[in-house]
């Protein structure tokens, strides 16, 4: 059987693409979160990462608690519908297991920063952040005057991750990737990044065209790993539903450092 250079086991892909100190974006806006890839990063004990994600949820809580991250670029960090991310809070409030530097945005700012990265531009412009205290906390939010109208707008620098990791429903053996449903910010993250890994529910011989689906062509995807269930406890439309009970259950595990330590050892 033909062995693709692109389709490789997840552990090999993480070992090859994610290095200590890298800037890594695991994206997924509630749907198609690359949870299995995050777990593999914990297993391989990557350190000093700058993690980027608009909506860090429980997989980032796990990576932060496991000590993978030195810095987090984000716009909303919580367990959706449940409450706090307790490992994230412990890192910010108490520096455990290590201090976590924050670069904080709004969703609109961060989405535009990805668009700029995907577009090969140095920055993005939006009508945003005005009057908020966010701009005072980071050098990454600055005023800019429209050269045509004089309107005062806001600029944010492009996001250019070393590695983007996303999860999708399907890929073919050449590494063309197809995803559909709520597609979030994944296309922009992949196109903004220097290297890209996509985990998929299944690798198929040929991608059937689907209305509304996004296709990432193989030449912008460095590696594909077949990981059925790789987005659990989030969901993959057409494959499985969101496991809301798992999100609720994480709250108890994450509240306690000892219990969380047990979770990491069992991973």
């Amino acid at each position: 059987m033909f062995a693709s250079r692109t389709v490789v086991p997840l552990a090999d892909a993480i070992a090859e693409l994610v290095r200590d100190g890298d800037t890594v974006a695991l994206e997924g806006f509630t749907h198609l979160i690359p949870v299995a890839a995050g777990h593999e990063i914990i297993r391989q004990r990557r350190r000093e990462l700058t993690l980027i994600r608009m909506t860090p949820d429980i997989v980032y809580d796990q990576m932060i608690g496991a000590g993978c991250a030195r810095r987090l670029v984000f716009s909303w960090g919580g367990n959706p519908g449940v409450g706090s991310l307790h490992r994230f809070r412990d890192a910010v409030e108490h520096g455990w297991p290590r201090p976590l530097e924050l670069v904080e945005h709004s969703h609109a700012g961060m989405a535009n920063a990805y668009v700029a990265g995907a577009s090969g531009l140095p920055f993005a412009v939006l009508r945003g952040y005005r009057g908020t205290d966010l701009a005072a906390q980071t050098d990454d939010v600055r005023p800019i005057t429209c050269p045509f109208t004089g309107e005062l707008l806001t600029a944010v620098p492009a996001l250019r991750p070393d590695v983007a990791i996303v999860h999708a429903q399907r890929a073919d053996r050449d590494g063309n990737v197809q995803l559909w449903g709520l597609v979030g910010i994944q296309k922009e993250a992949v196109l903004a990044a220097r290297r890209a890994l996509v985990t998929v529910e299944e690798v198929v011989d040929a991608l059937e065209p689907l209305p509304g689906a996004i296709v990432l062509p193989h030449w912008v995807v460095d590696r594909v790993s077949e990981v059925p269930g790789g987005a659990r406890p989030s969901y993959a439309q057409g494959y499985y539903d969101r496991d809301n009970a798992a999100y609720r259950a994480w709250d108890d595990v994450a509240r306690d450092r000892e219990r969380f330590g047990g979770w990491v050892r069992a991973l």
Binding site: S75, G128, D133
Partner: protein, 253 residues
């Protein structure tokens, strides 16, 4: 609470009161939690044509039960349109295409500025909250903003610890000086009553009390000297239909 056999909780009254303010046929950008409960209730009662917009990219979502997150599968599967996250903010929120931004808050001040970032100082927070999400631009650019939040002296503060989303900034003319295009907060619905900005001072004042709540309750749960409207209204109690619809929603979730 309430007359006869029918009773309800303060949270139920809050969701029902908030739902009533969402007009049929308008579009509403829905935050998760309390706003989502009230918006879905409105769609199931008086406002079947309310267009629910969720930041994960679902426009016109018609969820069969309450979603736990802003991106549950049923939102995309039932939506009129599914768009990317950059599109939802750039094409829909930023130009003012959404009538109502419906937000929650951890802290809110007398000028309806909202904090969802930190309690305490930013560098050494007492409590690290989730952060901004879509709220700053929703608060800036939607036609108007409705806030739903439980009223307490901890949440209703003289000055928020961190301005995540702007209400009226430092007072009259605050939004205009910042170039914010939407009208800003028009109502804050709590478990005790309803607050609205005074047209002259932009300060939130109590304009309605829910059944069972007293003026003293509202004052004690407000961290500034609460102004009260001359024509303070009494919120109508929940109807049987409203309560049944709300309970069907929350029990199904």
């Amino acid at each position: 609470m309430g007359a006869g056999a029918v009773s309800w909780t303060a949270d139920e009254m809050m969701s029902i009161a908030a739902a009533r303010f969402l007009a049929d046929g308008t579009s509403c950008f829905v935050g998760i939690g309390l706003p989502s409960t009230a918006a879905n209730l409105a769609r199931r009662t008086h406002a079947p044509g309310l267009v629910l917009v969720y930041e994960a990219g679902a426009i016109g979502a018609k969820p069969p039960r309450l979603p736990l997150s802003i991106g549950d599968g049923m939102l995309g599967e039932t939506a009129d349109a599914v768009v990317s996250v950059p599109e939802i903010f750039n094409y829909w929120v930023q130009p003012g295409r959404i009538d109502v931004g419906f937000l929650g808050a951890a802290q809110i001040d007398r000028f309806a500025n909202i904090n969802t970032t930190v309690i305490g100082s930013y560098d050494e927070p007492k409590v690290r909250l989730p952060g901004a999400g879509g709220a700053p631009e929703i608060a800036a650019s939607c036609g108007e903003v409705v806030v739903i939040v439980r009223q307490s002296a901890r949440a209703f503060v003289e000055r928020v610890d961190f301005v995540t989303s702007v209400g009226f900034g430092s007072g009259p003319g605050g939004r205009e000086r910042l170039g914010l295009t939407g009208r800003g907060p028009t109502r804050v619905i709590t478990d005790l009553g309803v607050l609205e900005p005074d047209p002259a001072s932009c300060e939130l004042r109590l304009t309605a009390l829910h059944p069972g709540a007293t003026l003293d309750d509202a004052r004690a749960a407000t961290g500034w000297e609460l102004a009260v409207a001359d024509d303070l209204a009494a919120t109508d109690p929940p109807s049987d239909g409203e309560l049944a619809a709300l309970r069907a929603l929350t029990e199904a979730a």
